[in-house]
């Protein structure tokens, strides 16, 4: 029986800068010389208040844009209008095209038919989820406990959550975040599931993280954020399953820290 919970490992990782929930930020102005490791002339690197930030840049965020090097990430914050990047600019950076993105969070579903893993706060990684070839389920691997592919649920590991929503303080003492669009699988999906697992697919922590060795080559170790029990088996036949994100409030938000 699953238990809705924030993963214990996730709580520790938050103190280790192990997750970036920031939404994509596109400054109106930006610049950078070809071959340089800096982006300059940014309109700003952060806005709002501590309780209700409106946008922000932090080290490790992915950077894209015309003239930005492929696969670039933010290095340091150099000033209120400039940052360094870990990959040289591939050309002259075009103003207004540079985007800074937080981590990619994903959601997968656990099958209802005799899952062997334990789905609660002790789950640390989804590992290599795949109903047919994912390996033995454990606290570091959902493995074969993921639902089989069907219809719009057509990739092992589930789907990306779109889009990150700016974390903020709600009603004084509780910080929350969520995503903006309800995850949904259609195209004639036939699904039978008991719970969902949200995880971070972006490599951000070095080895050892969460009890398994991070892949230094850059592939994801898929660290668990939370487990969400559906209260029983939920099934759809050749149809559409949509998970409705709760209101982003201090008492209901999908992720909140009191």
């Amino acid at each position: 029986m699953p238990t809705t919970a924030m993963a214990n490992s996730f709580k520790v990782e938050l103190f280790c800068s192990g997750h970036c929930f920031l939404p994509t930020y596109t400054p109106a102005a930006s610049a950078g010389a070809s071959g340089a490791y800096t982006l300059t002339g940014l309109t700003s690197i952060g806005g709002g208040t501590y309780a209700t930030p409106t946008f922000a840049i932090v080290p490790g965020m992915a950077v894209t844009g015309t003239g930005v090097g492929a696969g670039a990430s933010v290095g340091k914050l150099l000033s209120g209008t400039s940052v360094s990047v870990d990959t040289p600019n591939s050309g002259t950076v075009t103003t207004g095209t540079v985007a800074f993105a937080g981590d990619v969070f994903k959601i997968l579903l656990i099958k209802s038919a005799s899952p062997t893993g334990v789905y609660d706060a002790t789950l640390t990684n989804v590992g290599t989820p795949n109903n047919s070839s994912g390996g033995t389920p454990s606290v570091t691997n959902v493995g074969t406990d993921e639902i089989p592919l069907s219809g719009g649920y057509n990739a092992a590991g589930g789907s990306a959550l779109a889009a990150n929503f700016m974390p903020a303080l709600q009603s004084g003492t509780t910080a929350t975040t969520t995503w903006t669009v309800n995850p949904s699988w259609g195209s004639g999906a036939t699904i039978s599931t008991i719970c969902a697992v949200i995880y971070n697919s972006t490599p951000r922590m070095g080895a050892p993280a969460n009890g398994i060795t991070a892949n230094i080559g850059g592939s994801s170790i898929n660290r668990v954020v939370s487990v969400h029990d559906f209260g029983g088996t939920q099934a759809v036949t050749s149809g559409t399953l949509t998970l409705t994100l709760p209101p982003n409030s201090s008492t209901q938000a999908i992720l909140r820290i009191a």
Partner: protein, 193 residues
């Protein structure tokens, strides 16, 4: 930390179901509500459902028509609810102001809540149509037919699934399907300064 669930067998969610789900997030009956308040709230919710059913039907028709006319082009465009948001909040408010709760709906934060929820479900509606189209079916609700000339290995279909399943690891957008909402409402939270 609990998800709600919306399930439809043998097809897409109908416009009515999407409207009911949207309205349920706008009208929430408090535990301390009196019996009369609860009844009045339920009546208002039904009136809002009527307005939102019309809204979702319009969104669905627009999206399906565009997908049928130009599948590759439409799957690559920004998934943006904004073009559908011009008057829907006013139409919901118009109904609400005829109810006993009209003072509540004068509040700016309540208006913003309506805007956010309708926009979010509008985006979900658009996403569902694109997801089904990428899977080879077009149409409304459970009345579906095959997409003419559909190929699962078509470049735009593969592109859609790559983005929606894996996000955009290159950076622009966090887990955003193709061209996913990049401006506009608070629901996107992407800021331009």
């Amino acid at each position: 930390m609990q998800f709600g669930l919306l399930i439809t067998d043998h097809g897409k969610h109908s416009d009515e179901k999407l409207a009911i789900a949207t309205a349920a997030e706008i009208i929430q009956i408090a535990a301390g509500a009196s019996s009369k308040q609860a009844i009045d709230a339920r009546k208002l919710e039904n009136d809002i459902i009527d307005v939102l059913t019309e809204h979702h039907a319009k969104v669905s028709k627009d999206e399906v028509d565009k997908l049928d006319a130009d599948p590759a082009g439409q799957l690559a465009t920004k998934l943006d609810p904004m073009p559908h948001m011009t008057d829907i909040v006013d139409r919901v408010l118009e109904v609400a102001k005829k109810s006993p709760f009209k003072d509540w709906f004068e509040r700016d934060d309540v208006k913003q809540l309506i805007r956010d929820k309708v926009a979010s479900w509008t985006a979900t509606n658009i996403y569902i149509h694109r997801d089904w189209h990428a899977g080879g079916k077009t149409g409304h609700g459970t009345n579906l037919k095959d997409v003419p000339g559909y190929r699962s290995d078509a470049r735009h279909v593969k592109f859609w699934y790559e983005r929606s399943n894996h996000g955009m690891h290159g950076g622009h957008g966090s887990g955003l399907p193709p061209g996913f909402v990049e401006n506009g409402l608070g629901i996107t939270q992407e800021q331009r300064s």
